[in-house]
Symmetry: none
């Protein structure tokens, strides 16, 4: 599986770790906390290094939690010396690994964090604008109003919201939402999109855009607004 992984760390990290992660299919992006708001929305998890001192690392964690991406799982990298200081840091971070660590350990911890019920399993919340999706409770809401969706409607909306502003062809949606072995007409997608728009309400029906002769897309890229 290829997932996005945001990195919030100084350049002092061992490059072999990054190599191992990218080989495992993680797409890495190094970014500063300050410019996080401009980050890609497909953010899966954040790596924070406390090598520059534990207090600095924890500070970064809190800043992360304060942003719009506050629900993103945070994996903290700490030195052995600082471990005992972690005890009463509350929920500033979700999990931690002790340096020097291995990419194997990071991969396992990351997969646990993003599965939902992991070491400190958080409910996985997908949000895009007024749209909120809770993958644990299988509920979606817009403007706080809970949407009464069927299974396929939920799956489709959930997938689109997980990859916002990205255009998918009907065939791509059929294979990724319905399943690879699906043999059905592509027009099925249209009907589901239609029902989704109806349930989103007139106000937010335009959240799902039609890209003529290409496919569908949820949300608009930030520069187009």
């Amino acid at each position: 599986m290829a997932d996005d992984l945001l990195l919030c760390l100084p350049a002092t990290i061992d490059p072999s770790l990054l190599l191992g992660l990218s080989q495992a299919g993680y797409r890495l992006e190094q970014i500063d906390v300050e410019h996080l708001d401009a980050a890609p929305k497909q953010l899966l998890a954040a790596l924070v290094s406390a090598r520059g001192g534990l207090s600095v690392g924890l500070d970064t964690c809190r800043k992360l939690r304060a942003t719009a991406e506050g629900t993103v799982p945070i994996l903290l990298l700490v030195n052995q010396v600082d471990v005992s200081s972690l005890e009463h840091t509350g929920e500033a971070f979700d999990d931690f690994a002790i340096l020097p660590t291995s990419s194997a350990e990071l991969i396992v911890r990351l997969s646990k964090l993003t599965i939902g019920r992991g070491a400190a399993g958080k409910s996985v919340l997908v949000t895009y604008g007024p749209l909120k999706i809770n993958t644990e409770t299988y509920q979606a809401a817009i403007d706080g109003r809970v949407l009464d969706l069927t299974y396929m409607e939920y799956e489709l909306l959930s997938f689109l919201a997980s990859n916002p502003t990205k255009v998918f062809t009907r065939e791509a949606l059929l294979s990724r939402v319905w399943g690879y072995e699906y043999y059905g007409g592509a027009r099925t997608v249209d009907v589901h999109i239609r029902r989704l728009r109806a349930k989103l309400g007139e106000e937010h029906a335009s959240l799902i855009e039609t890209i003529r002769s290409v496919g569908y897309r949820l949300g608009q890229p930030s520069w187009a607004t």
Copy 2:
């Protein structure tokens, strides 16, 4: 804080680790998985060593999950060599530490695992709305009316109430309520759900919701914005 900590491990573990834990206020008790049912109910977390081989350790985890204490947090101790094999082990354990580890690391991981739980470990009283469950007396009540539940009915309701608003597939319920080594039809869950709804009374039958083609869920999530 002084908490109970159950140990499920061979005698090969480093004694200094145990010393550090007990100095931190954890009350330790070494116990075999087979005799777990006779364990004190204030069980907070379980340490499982995979030093005797990863498959053995994972087996112990699954046995733990199969017992009545199936929801207890499990911290697995593994060798560095086995880390990469942990990736697709699902929910067999909650967190892990790589040997040789330190008591400081264990303390932090344990406190993270048990956060939110009562000081005495698994909270004795589980409540959700009008539903009250006393895990000490094995009694459940709704609106003050005591429910006359069978063993499985109680276990199922108790598990659902311990994870309210979360959706579980029938397979997940079979694994976590019935036990990992259960080989039975998934429709069994339906029947128990039906009996539970009947005993909850017409008024509260809707407390357990059916998520079509997914599974069941107790209660509706509150969309805290």
